[in-house]
């Protein structure tokens, strides 16, 4: 059999883009039809196709090792980009499934699904970006689609306000990122990561380079909602349609991380860049992000905001993957960061989708409103229990494994104090995660609440996310292997 052409490596992004075009065609043929089943079905098909494509290319081994280089080094398809494509496509599939019910009665649904698909395509391209230019373009493809999606509930003041905030902060951070990129271009004369890495070694302009690196770091910190660039996150997550909150806090965050992983290990590798100590910057960022995120989450009265802040805290754990580099077990710690993002993709998406489900029933958003839900909707609440405990790092879901291996890898790299901060934060996070459980299982039931409908799509999405979160415990070995392989290809 003849070897497949290299562009097959981009199959996940291509599948998503083509599906987006198909959705546009459907909307053109039958404008304003809002045929939910057709639109959601097509989108789901597209995301599943992307998932299958990413999995197939990953398993086929055609992108193993250094990976495939496309378009003169602008894009690269390797284990890491495919691994993350799997995450993005899974999150998009879950979100699509959940949106089917959530969007009932809304207008412009075709646009919604098309934007989700394009944003996911942007994430996949971001994972494959091997140049600061493609990284920035994919970044904007993702961001612009996200701004529009956050504002999707046009009639809802909160949604529009959230989008405006998100857009303003996002535009500023894009500008900062772009300025950082231009400084780096000025210093190194290249945008492709490999060129940057070559020229960065003996540049006389280390001061300028340092400013550039820090500005790029700031741009990524915004996308991953790391402290102190996290202020937009709770607002945007709270105002957005809840499936979109899930999408942003799981998918978009992972996208920010994947490009950060690649830029900082390939372009500004710490072993070549001795004058700019960005590992230290990430250590500070990780500790502050974990602590601020978890403390803020602990003081919330609103479940959705609590989840938003807790996802800030979770970003802090993943930052350990970058903060513990240079300690001798780089591939291990980076691979564990990737594994945590995969598990997080399911458990965090699931948690937000549960909130969407509860909103669909017309229940409020505070802990008190959640009282006694366990007796009304036991299966969904059991799924939520899995998400909360998994996020807290208790072994009902694979979050336990991914977190302990991440901390273990940090210890192995010699950064035991990072792991210690992580463990303390984990213990703190138990407080607010179990608070949800206390509310849904132990709280006083709201007698006037009757659950009339069981939305099939939302329910399926929540249960599917829970099942995957649990099944990843026995299957965790299948995750870590490719993750560490992918990470070791970077060094």
């Amino acid at each position: 059999m003849a070897p497949l052409p290299d562009w097959v490596g981009l199959a996940p992004a291509l599948a998503l883009t083509l599906t987006a075009l198909v959705v546009f065609v459907i909307d053109t043929v039958k404008p304003r039809s809002n045929d939910r089943a057709l639109l959601a079905g097509t989108t789901l098909l597209g995301t599943v196709a992307a998932l299958a494509a990413a999995g197939a290319v990953l398993v086929s081994g055609m992108a193993s090792g250094e990976g495939l280089t496309l378009f003169g080094g602008q894009l690269v398809v390797d284990g890491m980009s495919l691994f993350f494509s799997v995450i993005f496509a899974s999150v998009a599939a879950l979100v699509t499934l959940a949106s089917y019910d959530y969007l009932a009665g809304q207008s412009e649904q075709a646009e919604y699904y098309a934007l989700v698909l394009l944003a996911t395509a942007g994430m996949c391209l971001l994972a494959s970006s091997a140049s600061l230019a493609t990284a920035f373009v994919s970044f904007e493809l993702l961001s612009l689609a996200s701004y529009a999606l956050v504002a999707f509930l046009k009639e809802d003041k909160g949604s529009v306000e959230a989008s405006l905030k998100y857009f303003l902060v996002g535009a500023v951070s894009s500008a900062i990122l772009l300025y950082g990129i231009s400084l780096i271009y000025g210093v190194t004369g290249g945008l492709v990561f490999d060129t940057v890495a070559e020229n960065v070694v003996d540049t006389p302009h280390t001061g300028l380079l340092g400013v550039g690196v820090m500005m790029v770091l700031g741009g990524f910190a915004f996308k991953t909602a790391s402290v102190p660039f996290h202020f937009w996150a709770p607002e945007a997550y709270e105002g957005a349609p809840t499936p979109i909150s899930a999408f942003l806090s799981s998918g978009s965050k992972a996208a920010g991380f994947v490009v950060a992983f690649r830029v900082f290990t390939v372009a500004f590798g710490f072993e070549i860049l001795t004058d700019v100590d960005w590992v230290l910057a990430f250590q500070v960022l990780a500790v502050v992000t974990m602590t601020v995120g978890n403390f803020a989450a602990a003081t919330q009265e609103n479940v959705k905001r609590m989840l938003a802040y807790s996802s800030v805290g979770q970003a802090g754990y993943v930052l350990i993957a970058l903060a513990a580099l240079g300690g001798g077990s780089d591939a291990l710690v980076l691979g564990m960061g990737m594994s945590h993002l995969l598990v997080y993709g399911f458990m965090n998406t699931g948690a937000f989708l549960f909130v969407a489900l509860v909103e669909h029933w017309g229940v409020g958003r505070t802990f008190e409103d959640y009282g006694g839900l366990g007796s009304k909707a036991p299966v969904a609440c059991a799924a939520m229990t899995v998400f909360m405990l998994s996020l807290a790092g208790i072994p009902l879901g694979a979050g336990f494994f991914s977190k302990y291996f991440l901390f273990g890898a940090a210890v192995d790299a010699g950064y035991w104090w990072l792991a210690a901060v992580g463990v303390v934060n984990s213990a703190l996070s138990l407080y607010f995660y179990t608070r949800v459980l206390r509310a849904i299982w132990g709280g006083d039931a709201n007698e006037s609440l009757t659950i009339e409908s069981y939305p099939v799509g939302l329910y399926t999405a929540v249960v599917a996310a829970a099942v995957v979160t649990v099944l990843l415990i026995p299957a965790f070995g299948f995750v870590t292997g490719p993750a560490v392989d992918a990470a070791s290809a970077l060094f």
Binding site: F400, D412, T434, G477
Partner: protein, 506 residues
């Protein structure tokens, strides 16, 4: 594959029961618990405890060892197996879970399917703890036990349930973290001489003296620190004084079936793990600091008994009476003699049955009279003879009457502890005095609550107990007497397992 089957049956039962409508859940839960029960008896019937993987490189019964997560030194294997120490505890878990489900039929009146599903889930965690031989899998099951207990207390517990549940969760979780650090320090100290977190491999390497220094800390200090960390972690779970304060709250606020499982099996996780980790892996520390550990044991016996003596709530009396028994177990372990270790293991099983029996009695009395205060009731024996007889039998078992399981356990412990380390006769004698105190508060409670003129504050009658309320009591008494009069049923397998730890047979 039988161990996997046992765990899978518990989990499958939990899922099925969770999906059942509430009215079928109690009976459904009981039926679901019979599958693991029967499986555990099949395991027991075909048990061959002659191999000891921990020290002789042999093979444990029903051993499976397959790769799970492959990551160099962090490799996690699915490694399970049973020896004479874990086998009785697995059977105890399945038996007590089935009985606990039956004791819940009367008092649990809401969200039943969730309740029984959680009990079955808890059973899976317990069986997992007693059968895994890989540290990571052990930790998974160990932590997994926390979840159902937390939810069971927080949803179905008494008036102060949230306080008790959070206290339990925080205390035991912190204990786990400390224990984890202690064990991790040992593994890191062993460096390249172990390639995984396999418990037998770590044990053999530690016993072979391969522990190096870690981060400038010498091997000797590292051993001691790790021992202390693990002792704290497991001591918290088994409620050694002064780490016992979570226990009375958790026991008192739990509904009856949860108390039965909590007191009967969950505390045994602590004693079992302490035997497996502290005492099997670092016997030299035990020898060196025997008096210190024995002091913990004796204080737990005496102080626990005194605390029980000062209670007025029947359930709290029974709750505190767990402390002396746990103290005896610790004394047997620290003796580190054949009789001491096997007595301690026997006492784990015995105390599981006896505490289950007494808590079940308290549950029946509470649902019959509506009160648990000893001062509010008298003369119950006339109106509820079976329950009263069971309570008396259980109390006598606790006091160590011959032909009951408590006697065998305590006899072996004292026999083993008496002449084991310098000063041990004094410690043993003081601990034996604890039995007098145990007899004191139990007789006191029995006399006040059960005998004399009938009186219950607030009502002149008591609700009749149903057959399913009394059946677990009868079964438990039968078990206690059978084990007391025919201890060889489990004693021979315990001896097989304990012998190699001490480098010889019994």
């Amino acid at each position: 594959m039988l161990i996997e089957l046992l765990i899978a049956l518990c989990l499958l039962g939990a899922v099925v029961v969770f999906l059942l409508p509430d009215e079928y859940a109690p009976f459904g839960g009981f039926v679901a618990s019979l599958f693991p029960l029967v499986t555990s008896f099949v395991l027991w019937y075909g048990f061959d405890g002659s191999g000891n993987a921990f020290l002789q490189g042999g093979q444990l019964a029903y051993e499976t060892d397959v790769e799970w997560i492959s990551l160099g030194q962090y490799a996690v294997n699915w490694h399970v197996g049973l020896d004479g120490i874990s086998m009785p505890l697995v059977v105890l878990s399945t038996v007590l879970t089935s009985l606990a489900i039956v004791t819940g039929w009367t008092p649990i009146d809401r969200q039943r399917s969730g309740f029984y599903a959680l009990l079955l889930f808890l059973e899976a965690g317990l069986v997992g703890v007693f059968s895994t031989l890989d540290f990571f899998a052990f930790l998974v099951f160990w932590e997994a036990v926390l979840i159902p207990v937390y939810l069971l207390i927080t949803v179905w517990g008494g008036p102060r349930r949230e306080y008790a549940a959070i206290k339990f969760f925080v205390y035991t979780n912190v204990a786990t973290l400390v224990m984890f650090i202690g064990f991790a320090a040992l593994v890191f100290g062993l460096g390249d001489s172990v390639t995984s977190l396999d418990l037998p491999a770590v044990t053999q390497a530690l016993r072979a003296g391969e522990l190096g220094s870690l981060g400038g800390v010498g091997a000797g200090t590292l051993r001691l620190a790790a021992f202390a960390a693990m002792f704290f972690g497991f001591g918290m779970k088994m409620a050694v004084v002064p780490f016992h304060t979570w226990l009375p709250d958790a026991y008192t606020e739990s509904p009856t079936p949860v108390t039965v499982v909590l007191a009967g099996i969950v505390t045994k996780m602590g004693t079992y793990a302490m035997l497996r980790f502290n005492f099997t892996m670092l016997p030299d520390i035990v020898e060196q600091y025997a008096q210190v550990i024995a002091l913990f044991a004796v204080v737990t016996v005496i102080y626990g008994a005194l605390l029980a003596l000062s209670q007025h709530d029947l359930k709290r009396i029974v709750a505190y009476s767990s402390l002396p028994s746990m103290g005896f177990v610790l004394l047997g372990l620290v003796a580190y003699t054949p009789y001491g270790l096997s007595g301690a293991t026997f006492q784990m099983v015995s105390h599981g049955l006896l505490s289950g029996l007494l808590f079940a009695c308290v549950g029946v009395i509470y649902s019959a009279t509506g009160t648990r205060m000893v001062g509010d009731m008298a003369g119950l024996a006339g109106r509820m003879p079976v329950t009263a007889a069971a309570f008396v039998a259980g109390s006598f078992g606790y006091m160590g009457l011959p032909f009951m399981s408590g006697f065998m356990g305590e006899y072996f412990i004292f026999q083993g502890a008496f002449d084991s380390f310098p000063g041990s006769p004094v410690f043993t004698a003081v601990a034996m005095f604890g039995i007098v105190l145990v007899a004191g508060y139990l007789l006191f409670a029995m006399q006040r609550a059960l005998f004399g003129e009938f009186r219950v504050d607030g009502s002149s009658t008591v609700r009749r107990a149903a057959v399913h309320d009394l059946a677990p009591l009868v079964v438990l008494i039968a078990c206690v007497i059978v084990l007391g009069s025919a201890p060889h049923l489990i004693f021979s397998m315990i001896a097989d397992a304990v012998g190699p730890l001490l480098g010889g047979g019994l």
